[in-house]
């Protein structure tokens, strides 16, 4: 039986502005002041020289670039507000900036919960293959990040092995991570070219994109920024993500946190647009807060997270740059009450944040450190629920059902009405939320949603076979990995 391949996007229609127009401008102006007076550190002489030539104030001694406001405003205007993240299967292309919110896997979890033992351990390349196969079969997951860090290969070749696992295990759009140098980026781009069918084909249909992270506060590693430029020069979108921790690597106050993160992200975007004008990029403010006792990330985050998300979405709208928003995130150790509450609150935040083009990041718990397979299908169910909520308000004559109400009259029931049968399948039906009676639940051994999720994912992992790559494409990818391994090894020792 062939199943129609499709992506389930969130189509937002609610928008809550937590900042007034005036407050939004205050944040923007404060950001411009930071970029002009404080600037950011970018440890790449090549990039700093190009920024200086374009009008930035550059101090090579301290690797500092300060951006005049006009340069910032002009560069942001060059960033496209819409583009396509293509997929190996064109039916799974993602139209960014068209009102769709696409869910991605989480990225590079340091550990995975073993499906058989239930214990956490370092992830392998095969884990990434299995997780990607799983995501390939889940309609809600649109964009494949490497959801676990591949730790059974040397760190300097992690990026190419991850990209290989992703490209070979799904026909969905691939987001590359761990490209920490232009050498990494070139190898990953080369792999994407092989799969897409050459440089031109890849430019026309970018089946792979990437993003780079700032080091908060206000820094970018030079190699990382050079990798971003490498992707952009190959015609591949490259976003910027900030993972500042309020109180530690960003101010404690919400407004100050926003300004600092906004400055980091705009610095990345301005740099990219200056070096590669018109490059497709995105704005990814991932909020985190410090645990005041331990100094680690606050795993019990609450209201600050949602407020930050909504305020940051207003900034992305102001700049007309596609946004990548954090849709999932929990400090829980498994998909328990805490995870359910934090996920639901965060996703509801996304639902009322207006249009969010990319929604990260499903699959992990414990502050994004630990991936578990069942999280993917459970998170997808919550995502589907929220999507449904956003889609379901309709008030046509047919929906108002006046004739049906009249036909049934007082004291009757609507069960046998044709109208009921015509519309009942519009109602949301869960896969994993428990809807059995207490008796049935006890008879089944008191299962919880995670048990049903594990059953489902085992079924997918047993049955689902993603469209494989051609054998010669596969051979070429392995060759690129091989060459990259040898060159990186040489570079390391040379």
């Amino acid at each position: 039986m062939s199943v129609e391949r499709r992506i389930r996007p969130m189509r937002g229609r609610f928008q809550i502005d937590v900042l007034s127009e005036g407050e939004l401008e205050q944040v923007h102006r404060a950001t411009l002041a930071v970029l002009e007076r404080v600037g950011v550190q970018i440890t790449s002489e090549r990039i700093l020289r190009e920024l200086a030539a374009a009008g930035a104030g550059v101090d090579l001694e301290t690797s500092r670039a300060r951006f005049p406001s006009t340069m910032v405003e002009e560069a942001i205007a060059l960033a496209p507000s819409s583009y396509v993240l293509a997929a190996r299967d064109p039916a799974l292309d993602l139209a960014i900036g068209a009102g769709n919110g696409y869910l991605s896997l989480d990225g590079c979890a340091a550990e995975i919960v073993d499906l058989d033992t239930g214990r956490r351990r370092p992830p392998t390349k095969d884990d990434l293959v299995q997780a990607t196969r799983l995501a390939d079969a889940v309609d809600e997951v649109a964009n494949l990040w490497p959801c676990v860090a591949v730790t059974d290969v040397p760190p300097h070749v992690q990026a190419v092995h991850q990209t290989h696992a992703q490209l070979a295990s799904s026909t969905k759009h691939v987001t590359a991570m761990s490209t920490f140098s232009s050498r990494d980026a070139r190898a990953v781009v080369e792999m994407a070219r092989v799969v897409a069918g050459g440089d031109e084909a890849l430019r026309a249909r970018p089946i792979l994109s990437s993003f780079q992270c700032s080091i908060s506060p206000l820094s970018y590693e030079g190699d990382v920024m050079e990798a971003a430029v490498e992707f952009a020069n190959a015609g591949l979108p490259c976003g910027f993500v900030a993972m500042a921790i309020g109180t530690a690597t960003a101010p404690t106050t919400l407004a100050g946190h926003l300004v600092s993160v906004n400055a980091e992200l705009l610095a990345g975007i301005v740099t990219l647009e200056t070096l590669v004008p018109g490059a497709a990029t995105y704005y990814g403010p991932y909020q985190a807060f410090m645990d005041l006792q331990s100094g680690g990330i606050n795993l019990a985050w609450g209201p600050e997270e949602v407020l930050f998300k909504l305020a940051a979405a207003q900034l992305a709208r102001r700049y007309e740059v596609p946004m990548n928003i954090l849709g999932f995130g929990t400090g829980a150790k498994s998909q328990d009450w805490q995870a359910g509450a934090q996920h639901a609150i965060a996703l509801m935040g996304v639902a009322v944040a207006g249009e969010a083009d990319m929604i990260a990041a499903t699959g992990t718990v414990y502050g994004s450190r630990v991936f578990a397979f069942e999280n993917v299908v459970l998170d997808a169910e919550l995502f589907d629920l929220v999507c449904h909520m956003l889609e379901s308000v309709s008030v046509s004559d047919e929906d108002l059902a006046l004739e049906v109400i009249e036909a049934v009259g007082p004291g009757g029931h609507f069960l046998s009405q044709a109208h009921t049968r015509a519309h009942m399948r519009e109602l949301w039906m869960p896969r994993f939320f428990g809807r059995d009676t207490w008796e049935d639940w006890e008879a089944a051994g008191r299962p919880d949603p995670r048990d049903r999720a594990r059953e489902r994912l085992r079924q997918i992992l047993t049955e689902h076979e993603p469209e494989p790559l051609d054998a010669d494409v596969e051979r070429e990818l392995l060759h690129i990995i091989d060459v990259h391994e040898r060159e990186s090894e040489g570079a390391k020792h040379g």
Partner: protein, 219 residues
Amino acid sequence: MDEKIAALREAFYALDDQAAVRTTTELIEGGADPQVVLQTGLAEAMLEIGRRWNAGDMFLPEVVAAADIFQRCNSIVEPALIAAGGKTLGHRVVMATVKGDLHDLGKNMVGAMLKTVGFEVHDLGKDVPTDRIIEAVKEVEPTIVGLSSLLTTTVPEQRNVIRALEENGLRRSVKVMVGGAPVTQEWAEEIGADGFAPNAPEAVELALRLAGSERPPGR
């Protein structure tokens, strides 16, 4: 004729009431054995619909719609069945929403669906005093008494009805099934009922079990 009966069942699965009524009429007017039409057409279709409901492939409003179609078709088959001296209906059921409770949707659904598998249903309505239930049991001599209540305040009436059956020496001659939102298996056991079902389709299975038949009675 087999093809036509298959078409009748298909009309049920498609919930096409017009096609079902038309096919039933054609079968009966064409001289088909009404017993065969009832058993292999109408009842078999309802059993299959019950199976599909159980598997999650059909929803309750569809089952209720099918029950409505069953009743319309059965009203065509029944006169022919009686005229032919055939066996019409099997076990009788007396059902009621107990005293003090005006909620009868659940009981009505169970009643409608019991009819579809061949039970003769005597529905006493809602807010029914215990005396009336006892009278009806004496008069109808049912196999099963079904008691429904939605409210926690009226659920104790179910126990009162069972006691009254005992006091009138009727308890051994009937099976009592109870239902309603606050009712549980534990409650059913506590008050000495013979069975409980959490929803209408399972109530039908329970009734068939209590009547000592996994298949529609009258076969």
